[in-house]
Symmetry: C2
Subunit: 214 residues, 2 copies
């Protein structure tokens, strides 16, 4: 049986990856300097020395030039739930995973630095895109919970659970961003958010502590 995931990694693939990163890097630099809405795709293309069309080929939407955490952000919680150990609830798996990310100052949960936070907060297009990510994330989590608890597709239970769990993660993300905008250092934010995470997950405990225990 051939390894399907193995990549030949030809010259073309490497060049594409390089071009993609080069464009993304130039774009991020410009966005942080001058704000997302004050930079046009044409300027990004000029800075990266490619055609406008090449930029939009790699990044169909302008927002994707600034937010390339999509995959990790959307799939993270669903993966955490699927990969948790035996005897563990979805709730505690997500709590543990979050605490680890907080301790590591993971950008995916909001530790993106003040400049990035300002860029996002200052652009309706970016906050809108972030909302889409939250939405997809909740749906991915709902699927993970539904397929595990083996209920029918119409059952609302896993969706309510995913809404609450994803919702708490979202609130803590927003909290991290807000404190970053206020100029607090990551260490201090990590301590505060750890406490808030404890409070928030404790509030879900009565409803979800016994749900989805493997």
């Amino acid at each position: 049986m051939a390894a399907v995931t193995e990549r030949p990694a030809g010259l073309r693939e490497r060049k594409k990856q390089q071009t993609r990163e080069h464009i993304s890097h130039q774009a991020t630099r410009l966005f942080l300097e001058r704000g997302f809405d004050n930079v046009t795709i044409a300027e990004v293309a000029a800075a990266a020395q490619v055609a406008k069309m090449t930029v939009t080929n790699y990044f169909p939407r302008k927002e994707d030039l600034a937010l390339d955490l999509q995959e990790a952000y959307v799939q993270g919680p669903a993966v955490t739930v699927r990969e948790r150990g035996p005897g563990e609830s979805a709730l505690s798996a997500l709590h543990d995973s979050l605490l680890a990310s907080v301790a590591a100052h993971d950008p995916v949960i909001g530790f993106s630095g003040p400049a990035f936070a300002r860029m996002v907060a200052g652009s309706p297009a970016l906050t809108g895109r972030l909302r889409e990510f939250h939405d997809e994330r909740e749906r991915a989590l709902a699927r993970a919970l539904a397929e595990e608890t083996g209920t029918t597709a119409a059952d609302i239970r896993p969706r309510v659970a995913a809404m609450q769990l994803g919702g708490v993660l979202r609130l803590l993300f927003e909290e991290t961003q807000r404190r970053t905008l206020d100029g607090h250092p990551d260490e201090e934010i990590a301590r505060a958010v750890t406490v808030q995470a404890g409070e928030a997950f404790a509030l879900l405990e009565p409803a979800l502590g016994g749900y989805a225990v493997r």
Copy 2:
């Protein structure tokens, strides 16, 4: 003391209101006929016999031409919580209010008819705007809960509660829309959603049954 809310209702005000409704009516008609993304603002302006600029004066974003339920949608739950009777929890007030809206086939909670549901589902711009509404709604609800329980602004408790309560309302809205898209009659949908509402609110009962009791 003069009644500040009283309006002179001059000719100018009346004409503006008329124009606004006329534009909105023509727009909705065109959108339902041909789909939101297949109608341009210029066409709406032509149908209403005004200048393009007049359309965008009244409706800064194109999506607002189709979604004029904003105010009721966003403020509804916060108002319900503020106006509930003594001894009642926020949870049960919202549950009761929702059941009444379901029984009345209220468009604001998703009973908008198949054509409207198709229009919304078929347009990323509209679903995105709806997400913004959900967001504002949750924040309005969080404010109502926070000012009542008298906690500090940094306290995460009311935000978690608003996330859970607003989230359930959102899930039930989506469920109503989904069933409408599937072609089921309102009566049947109302019965099914009433049951699901019971299940969903019951799931929040352990966490929120004793919270925000007036």
